[in-house]
């Protein structure tokens, strides 16, 4: 069994060299092009999700002001908004987009281990998006069951889209799982098996750690979603009773008996909770790197950060039923899951402390990415604290299904990761496009987004305390809801419209800078990690030219005393770094 490790044959990795424009940009096997395809498609889908949210917000803020937003459409919009944002936007953008772009570059690899599979992944993702969008055009429209798709109401008449809409949703999710699996296997194997010389696991940037653990979570959590989709499909199409108990519809018994709606909730949240960390962990990773670069300091407690990511990943599989405290499951379950939920807050809090300590006494450079990264710390602390409230059964019971929950998860899973996305997009824009974005415009964009997000979600906490339920088309004349709640709703809607509109600034900036932006330095921030050390900017197919880089240090050597510049890139050998130090100041040799 003479077996030569493939990674040692780096000079002859079979590269699929494109021959035409179509092969280069359409059927491309280059991870960077695939990343942009993935990301672009995710953003387009996300825009649909955004527009939907503005439409249903109009209904909440100014009832019946938009005439096609009737109760049915309202539910469909809420449902599609939720599902699009969680799965097709955030998951696809973080893992398909950033995962694809960063993994080979940060590890010093030429590409993913199986570029063809990687290409298949993005095209399968496109199919799933097409199926999802098709549901807007079928009779009955898309499903309006809420993004959690709880049976039995999902499949019963009265729920909009209970016929064709739900089927398309389930098929689309199943196809998405397939797409994700093809991509995810690639990221994991690339990270484990295809690092450049010297890149030990404990020298990888935290971005990679976040993407790695999130992908592993995805590979183990999406199966539960797939199974739930298949079983629900059987219930809808074949009339089986996996999730359907004996149930009446307008007084007539339906042909179902003996199924378990709670089973669906378990399967869904066994996927659903890890899913929130599938989104959060890459964000944690990216923001750690942005903070460290712009604070000119090494990330505080690198090893702890790595272990915290792993611990959060592991724990996230045993907390799922905190979404089900009100489902009628056994109260002892509630006790168990409340305990694990509070335990997962420990490594999460640890990460927050480490970000703060990274900033502490740093040489902070307030560039636009840093604005967004610091904004993230605010919103994440905020959303994390409300999570602690909800994790306790007795506090959750009155708050569940109110706007308090909506505020919690939007701060923690909506606003926070999106702030990181912007931080990361601005931060890596010079590398990806070879141009600089417009700094002022990016900062204006930040203030609109950050302050606007608070204007939207802070009042929602209060609405939740009042007991205003989520997923209601209109509040009606309810005694416990004061009239002023409506005024708050209007103000929230206005803020949402402004935030929505201000995102234009981002697109103008990103697209305009492609043409008018000034040419970017290969390493404008003075970052130490490998992706900034490529011979070309933007990196070309194959990434590294003739020879793969060799890594001599971790990714966080900033503000090194006596170093020629105030940082040492990962691929600079000790001898060279020492020589540079000597040249600069003969006395201060080393530390």
């Amino acid at each position: 069994m003479a077996y030569v490790p493939l990674a040692d044959q780096d000079q002859d990795m079979e590269m699929h060299h494109p021959h035409s424009w179509v092969e280069k940009y359409v059927w491309s096997q280059d991870h960077k092009v695939i990343a942009i395809q993935y990301g672009g498609l995710a953003v387009l889908t996300g825009i649909v999700g955004l527009v939907l949210s503005l439409l249903f917000r109009m209904q909440l803020g100014f009832p019946e002001s938009v005439n096609f937003v009737d109760p049915n459409f309202y539910y469909q919009a809420v449902t599609m908004h939720g599902m699009i944002m969680v799965v097709y936007f955030l998951t696809a953008l973080f893992l398909g987009g950033f995962g694809n772009y960063m993994v080979p570059l940060m590890l010093g690899a030429r590409d993913m281990v199986f570029p063809f599979l990687n290409m298949m992944s993005v095209w399968t993702f496109l199919i799933s998006v097409i199926i999802l969008m098709a549901s807007f055009f079928v009779g009955g429209g898309p499903t309006g069951a809420g993004w959690t798709l709880y049976p039995p109401q999902t499949t019963m008449a009265g729920t909009p889209g209970h016929d064709a809409g739900i089927i398309l949703m389930l098929v689309s999710l199943a196809v998405f799982v397939v797409a994700f699996t093809m991509g995810g296997l690639n990221y994991v194997v690339t990270i484990l098996q295809y690092r450049c010389r010297g890149m030990t696991l404990m020298r990888m940037p935290l971005t990679i750690w976040g993407i790695f653990v999130a992908t592993v979570l995805g590979l183990f959590a999406f199966p539960a979603l797939l199974v739930a989709c298949i079983m629900m499909m059987f219930d809808t199409v074949l009339g089986t009773s996996f999730f359907m108990p004996a149930v009446l519809e307008s007084g007539t018994p339906l042909d179902y008996e003996g199924g378990s709606p709670i089973l669906f909730q378990h399967l869904f949240w066994f996927f659903g909770h890890p899913e929130v960390y599938i989104v959060a962990l890459p964000a944690f990773g990216l923001v750690s790197d942005v903070l460290s670069v712009h604070a000119r300091k090494n990330i505080f407690g690198y090893r702890m950060m790595v272990w915290a990511i792993i611990a959060i990943g592991g724990l996230s599989f045993i907390v799922w039923a905190h979404h089900m405290y009100v489902s009628g499951m056994n109260p002892y379950f509630g006790f168990f899951f409340a305990t694990t939920t509070l335990i997962i807050a420990v490594p999460t809090a640890l990460k927050v402390y480490n970000w703060l300590l990274t900033l502490w006494e740093g040489d902070i450079r307030l560039n636009a990415p840093m604005y967004f990264a610091i904004g993230f710390i605010f919103t994440f602390i905020h959303g994390g604290l409300t999570g602690l409230f909800l994790g306790n059964v007795v506090i959750d019971l009155p708050l569940s299904d109110t706007y308090f929950v909506v505020a919690h998860f939007h701060l923690v899973m909506g606003v926070s990761p999106i702030l990181v996305l912007f931080a990361a997009l601005y931060h890596w824009y010079p590398k990806i496009s070879g141009r600089m974005y417009n700094e002022t415009m990016a900062k204006v964009h930040f203030w609109f987004t950050f302050l606007g997000a608070y204007a939207i979600y802070l009042p929602m906490h209060y609405l939740g305390f009042l007991g205003v339920p989520r997923r209601y088309y209109a509040l009606g004349n309810t005694d416990f809801i004061p009239l002023s709640a409506q005024d708050l709703n209007s103000s929230i809607t206005i803020a949402a419209l402004i935030v929505g509109a201000s995102q234009i600034l981002f697109f103008i900036n990103i697209i305009g800078s492609l043409k008018w932006g000034k040419k970017a330095d290969p390493n404008p921030w003075g970052a130490a990690s490998l992706e900034w050390q490529t011979p070309d900017t933007p990196p070309v197919h194959g990434n590294w030219g003739e020879n793969l880089p060799t890594v001599y240090r971790w990714a966080y050597d900033y503000s090194v005393p006596g170093a020629a510049e105030d940082f040492i890139p990962q691929n600079v050998p000790e001898s060279e770094a020492a020589a540079a130090q000597d040249a600069k100041s003969p006395e201060s040799n080393g530390e």
Binding site: A7, Q193, T200, M231, G239, F242, G258, V551
Partner: protein
Amino acid sequence: MSEATTQAVSQEGMTGMVGDWSADRQAYHVPWGKAMMWIFLVSDTFIFSCFLIGYLNVRVTTTDPWPPQSEIFALSFGGDPIPLILIAIMTFVLITSSGTMALAVNFGYQKDKAKTFLLICTTAAFGATFVGMQAFEWSKLIAEGVRPWGNPFGAPQFGSVFFMVTGFHGLHVTGGVIYLLWVALRVKRGYYDNKGYEIVEIAGLYWHFVDLVWVFIFAFFYLL
């Protein structure tokens, strides 16, 4: 954190273990495809586990009695019906195919193309036999009135789970047969002479997995 060399310095204890495992380039000394297959199979395990847990769950929640499997899955060859005989034969066939697959891997590494080809084809043939017998069983049950949404013997979930789980597993076997034939063809053509014969082992991993899953389905669905 700034070791002078590219290699992590060896240490003792927990730190050393982490350090060694996380050393540069690769975590496992196996080809990429094999690592990928392993991870895929763990992911697939989660799929089947979810199916089986779902099955156990509806078996508890359903209000009708569970049908007597040993009678339903009995077959008579002229005389008295023998309970579970067909399933026993199917299981035997599938386990035998794992044996032939293991031999194929062995001959693959010896670069004995003819034998490898033959053994993979035998494995695939056993697999196809398995699927054929499953089709026979399906049609027998369908003829007796078992449907995904109901059956004459008791809880409707019996048929639902049966068709869903054996169907999903059957798809795995069918996919495996196609995969094996494709590998066999390439073996015969000498495609792997330079690349190495790990692919036979990788396909074998998948095949053994499908086999193992069947053992669980057998235990949970037919015996329990």
